[in-house]
Structures are given as C-alpha cells and as structure tokens.
C-alpha cells in the first residue's frame, strides 16, 4: 500500500432532526492510499455523501479523527479547510455545479485563478484539461448550451485541472445515461493512471462499480464490507 492520503478513525456524525439527533455515521474507520480508484457504495441515506463531505472538509465530524493529505481536519478553521480544498482536493458533483455565467474555459480555469497561477501556465493547463475530457470544440460554450454528459466532463476537467492529489466524486453518473457514464469513467480511470490522482467515488451505480479497484460498502452508517479488485486489465485497456 502506498502513502496514506485519507485516514479516518472512529468517525461519528450526528445531525439534529427536530429535537433529536440522527446518527448518520457510526464509527467509520478507513485508510485510503495514494493513487487508489475506489468507491464508497451503499443505498440512499446510508451515509456515503456525509462521509465524502467530511473527507472533503465541507462538514465536520461529531467524534473521531480525520486526516486528509497529512492534515488533521479536527479543529481547523474555515480558512484552513478552504485552503485544503483549494490546493489539494477536486470535487465532482452529481448536479455538475458549473458556474452558469462562465464559459467552459472559464469554469475550468476557476480553480487556477484561486491558486493565482500565472496566465500563460494557466491557459496551457486549462486547454490540456479540456482536451482530456474531449471538449476542445466547446471551449466558449456556456453550461446552458451543454448536454448532461458534456457538463459532467466540464466538471471533471475543473476538478483535475490543478492536478490535485485527491478527487472526490459524489454520484457523478446519477444524471447520465449508460454511454456517457462509461465514457466518463474511462476518462477518470485514464487520468488516475496518467497523473496518479486518488479518486473516491460515492455511488450506487453498478456501471461505476465495474471500474473501481476498491469498494467500501456502507449500510446504515457502518462499514459492511471493504473489498479490493484487480482492474489491471481494464486499466491497460483504458
């Protein structure tokens, strides 16, 4: 196993619902190594998204410890967590979450603007990322002019343009048809192979699962199983 990029120990997350507390995660412990292409699967409401949000520094645990890219997330300020996301994590959302008034190019460029990358280097990186997802002909289009598959590819380009060590993808194929889902998974697998980024997916889509080399199954806030798969043949094909 390579270097650990995500380390979760005894993670508990409670949400207040009316005057009671609902326990969404009940003592999760996992380690994710650098370069893994893994998924957290489970039915709706099982706690997948909550776990990803905590790993991504978007939410905080009630109990337990979480360390991402060597940084413990416990007690960190909003600014420190924002810095972690800005520098180290790419996000892909189910609803694409593209910025509606920006073009494809500008959406992909945005993370690099936050990082103050100089304009020449930025332009090169943006064009390269757009090329990875095969959208060079749509560079000036606005999100409203794109199909669902194209929008998700823009979201992927945006998540990987800064070459983050970790990409978190939440139900990224939920709004896509089978053809587009396979296309996107192949792109991500290729990127995982090419740039060595660690991918964590939350999904209950079996098409996605077919590409994952590790699947952690969560049911009712607890880990039910943690299985590794040999996808070398698939990786070679991609």
């Amino acid at each position: 196993m390579g270097k650990i990029v995500v380390e979760v120990k005894g993670l508990i997350k409670d949400f207040p619902i009316a005057d009671r507390l609902f326990r969404a995660l009940k003592g999760i412990t996992i380690n994710i190594a650098e370069g893994e292409f893994m998924g957290i699967v489970g039915p709706s409401g099982s706690g997948k998204t909550t776990l990803l949000n905590i790993i991504g520094g978007l939410d905080s645990p009630t109990e337990g410890t979480v360390s991402v890219l060597g940084l413990s997330l416990i007690g960190k300020s909003n600014k420190e967590l924002a810095d972690l996301r800005k520098n180290g994590i790419g996000f892909i959302f189910q609803g694409y979450n593209l910025l509606p008034v920006y073009t494809v190019y500008e959406n992909v460029e945005f993370p690099l603007l936050l990082l103050n990358v100089d304009s020449n280097k930025r332009d090169k990186m943006v064009r390269e990322a757009i090329e990875w997802v095969d959208l060079s002909d749509k560079i000036k289009s606005k999100p409203a002019q794109l199909s669902g598959g194209e929008s998700q590819r823009v979201a992927i380009a945006r998540s990987i343009v800064k070459r983050p060590p970790l990409v978190i993808a939440d139900e990224l194929t939920a709004n896509l048809d089978a053809k587009n889902s396979h296309r996107i998974m192949k792109i991500l697998l290729g990127l995982n192979k090419e740039i060595g980024t660690t991918f964590i997916f939350a999904t209950h889509d079996e098409k996605v699962m077919g590409y994952l080399s590790r699947i952690i199954s969560i049911v009712d806030g607890k880990i039910e199983s943690d299985k590794f798969f040999d996808r070398n043949e698939l990786r070679e094909k991609v």
């Binding site: 939410d59 600014k79 996301r85 959302f93 008034v101």
Partner: protein, 390 residues
C-alpha cells in the same frame, strides 16, 4: 483583481435584473446631481447679480438703516466722514440716499422707495446715465421692468410723488419715467424709483446726506473707520442661503427617497441572488474560496451596480447636463419665487458635486449589498451545495 473580474462577470451575466437596477440607480445619480447643480447655479447667479448690481465691495449702512423697517428709514441718513467723502470723490464709493415716498399714477397710489445715486457711477451695474442726459421739464426717474409691469408706468409717463422732507414737511412733484430698464435683482426693482442723488438731496433738503454707501470692489477702506456699519456679501447672501437651505430640506427628502428606491432594488436583487445562488456559493466554497472572499465577491457585485449606474448616467446625463449648463433653464417666475436671477438659470456641475454624489451613491449601494451578503459568512458549505433554504 480576480474578485473584481468575477463580480463583473456575474453582474453582467445576471442580464435584465442588473440593468433595471443600474438604470434606477443612474436616475438617483443624475437627479441628485442635477438638483444640486441647480442650487449651485442659483447661488452663483444670485451672488454674481448681487455683487454686480447692489453690493460690489460691500456696503456701509447708516446705523439706523434697516431696509425692512419703514419706521426708522426716515431717520437713517447723515453726512458721511471726510474719509468717505474722499472715496466718493475718487469714485471708490457710491453714496445712496433712501426715502419712503407715495406714488400717484393712473388714478392709484402706492408706497415705495425713492433712491438717489450719482447717475454716472460705475461701481454697480445700474444704468442711470439717461437721467443725466434728460432735458425735459419734470424730474427724471428710472424704474425697473417689474415696477413698470406692476404699476403700468411706461417710458415717458408722468406721475406724482409725495415725500417727507428733512423739515418733516410733505412735498410733492411731477416725475417722468425717463427709462424702463431690466433689473435682474428684484430688490432694486420692486417698489423703487431711481433718480439722481443731487436732485433727491435737493428735493429732500438733505445736502450731502447719505443712507448707505456702496464700496468699489477690492476697496482699501478700513471697515471700522466710520460710524456706518459694514455689510459684506455674506450678509446679503444670508437670506438667499436660508431660502436655498429651506428648499434643500425638501430636495434632500426627494434624494433620500430616490436613494431608498435604488437601494431597495439592489438589496432585493442581492437577497434574491444569495437565495437563488446558494448552490453556486456552495460550489465556490468547495473549490476553495473562503467565506469572507465570497462575501466580498457578492458585496462587490452589488456595489458595482453603482459603477455601471455611473456609466449609464454619464451616457445620458453628460449631453443633457451640457445642454442645460450652456443653454440654461428659463425661470420666468423668479421674482415671485424670491429668486434673484437673469431669468435663466445655469446649473453648475462642479467636480466636488459629481464626485461627492458618486461616493454617496456608491457608499449606500455597497452597504445595502453587504447586508444580505453577510449571511454567507454563516452558511454551511454542505447546506449551500444542496441549495438548502435556511
């Protein structure tokens, strides 16, 4: 810089909503600037006319003289000091004698003032040379066009004037209107007949006597050197300034309402924006933007309405204001409104007015943009990403 670029992009991306707010804000800009320019123009016009026609370098009043008190006006005259007499002889000062009188014309009578000044004087703009050139059988006077309109007296008309002379005896004589002149200063026109100082002294039996003296501009006279009381231009402007100040209360109310209208539009737009763009806010947080930076972005987006409003306002305001500032605005009711004016008002658009208004509107707009944006600081990224309404 990045925040600025994003704010501009978002603002322009909002389309019609932005432009409606911008147009309303630009109205606030231009109307506030226009009304204040009108007040500036009014004040400057009045100041210029007062200096030209009445005040020049200031006046020295007989201690008893009060133009608003008819009871003391009979006693407000005396012979001036030698120093002042020298100034008069050297055309450095102009003596004026004032007396109440009753005018009888066209079968009616009215009470007014006789004012005597040297016809050839050049200290104030009061063209009385026609009196010096008069060769008729009566006492020549000059009246203003307002007085002519009110009394029906025309050039060449005869009328009787009765007055109380120095010996407290009523006397009367026939006067002739030698000229009707346009006087921009209604205070010199309304109820006043102008005649030669020497003739008036003779009629009143007041040789060498003076009610007040008008000093030449840039005079070297020590204002404390005589028993006469010095009144400078500020004294004469006091009434005008009070009138403008009183009118500005109303104008400021209008400005306030305009600003509230513009601000409400932007406030409403900001609240809606933050409500509708929660998912976008969540995405910005996920991409690594700090909450403070997002607050700044949204505040700037709102604040930039005022910058766009400035450009839009300049687009239609510049030609309009240029036209008004060069052509003027006719105010035929100036006298009735108590305005000393040439009949046309020229608004004055100074840089202080324009930049001051810009800062005021930009400040108000930025504050109303910041108030709803503050909510973002407490927003949870996960809730924002879900577009959850709280």
């Amino acid at each position: 810089m990045m925040i600025f670029r994003l704010a501009i992009k978002n603002l322009l991306g909002a389309g019609m909503r932005t432009w409606l707010n911008v147009v309303v804000t630009s109205f606030s800009f231009t109307i506030i600037i226009f009304f204040n320019a009108m007040y500036n123009g009014m004040r400057q016009d009045t100041l210029r006319i007062l200096l030209d026609t009445e005040v020049a370098g200031g006046q020295l009043w007989h201690p008893e003289y009060d133009p608003f008190d008819p009871l003391t006006i009979e006693d407000s005259h005396s012979i001036i000091s030698e120093e002042l007499q020298k100034m008069v002889a050297g055309n450095e000062a102009m003596p004026v004698l004032v007396r109440q009188a009753t005018f009888y014309m066209n079968g009616r009578s009215s009470v007014g003032l006789m004012k005597g000044i040297p016809p050839g004087q050049e200290i104030v703009r009061m063209p009385l040379k026609v009196i010096g050139d008069y060769s008729g059988d009566y006492i020549p006077v000059v009246i203003g066009s307002g007085m002519s309109k009110k009394t029906g007296l025309r050039k060449g008309d005869l009328f009787t004037v009765r007055w109380l002379d120095a010996l407290r005896t009523y006397d009367a004589d026939e006067f002739e209107v030698a000229e009707v002149i346009k006087l921009d200063n209604y205070r010199l026109d309304r109820g006043v007949i102008w005649l030669s100082l020497e003739k008036m002294r003779e009629l009143l039996q007041m040789p060498g006597e003076v009610t007040y003296i008008v000093l030449k501009r840039d005079h070297a006279f020590n204002n404390q050197a005589d028993s006469f009381i010095y009144k400078d231009i500020e004294y004469f402007m006091k009434d005008i300034d009070s009138a403008i100040e009183a009118d500005q209360v109303w104008a400021r109310t209008i400005f306030g309402l305009l600003l509230i209208m513009a601000s409400l539009g932007i406030f409403n737009s900001q609240v809606l924006s933050i409500f509708r763009r929660k998912k976008e806010i969540g995405t910005l947080m996920a991409l690594g933007m700090t909450r403070q930076r997002i607050v700044r972005l949204f505040t700037l987006e709102g604040g930039l309405h005022s910058v766009l409003a400035l450009f839009v306002g300049a687009l239609y305001g510049t030609p309009l204001f240029y036209y008004l500032a060069t052509r003027g605005i006719t105010i035929p009711y100036g006298e009735e409104a108590g305005i000393i004016s040439t009949g046309s008002l020229y608004p004055v658009f100074g840089p202080q007015l324009i930049f001051g208004t810009m800062l005021l509107v930009a400040g108000v707009v930025t504050v109303v943009s910041f108030l709803p944006a503050r909510k973002i600081a407490n927003m949870q990224p996960t809730e924002a990403l879900r577009g959850k309404i709280s």
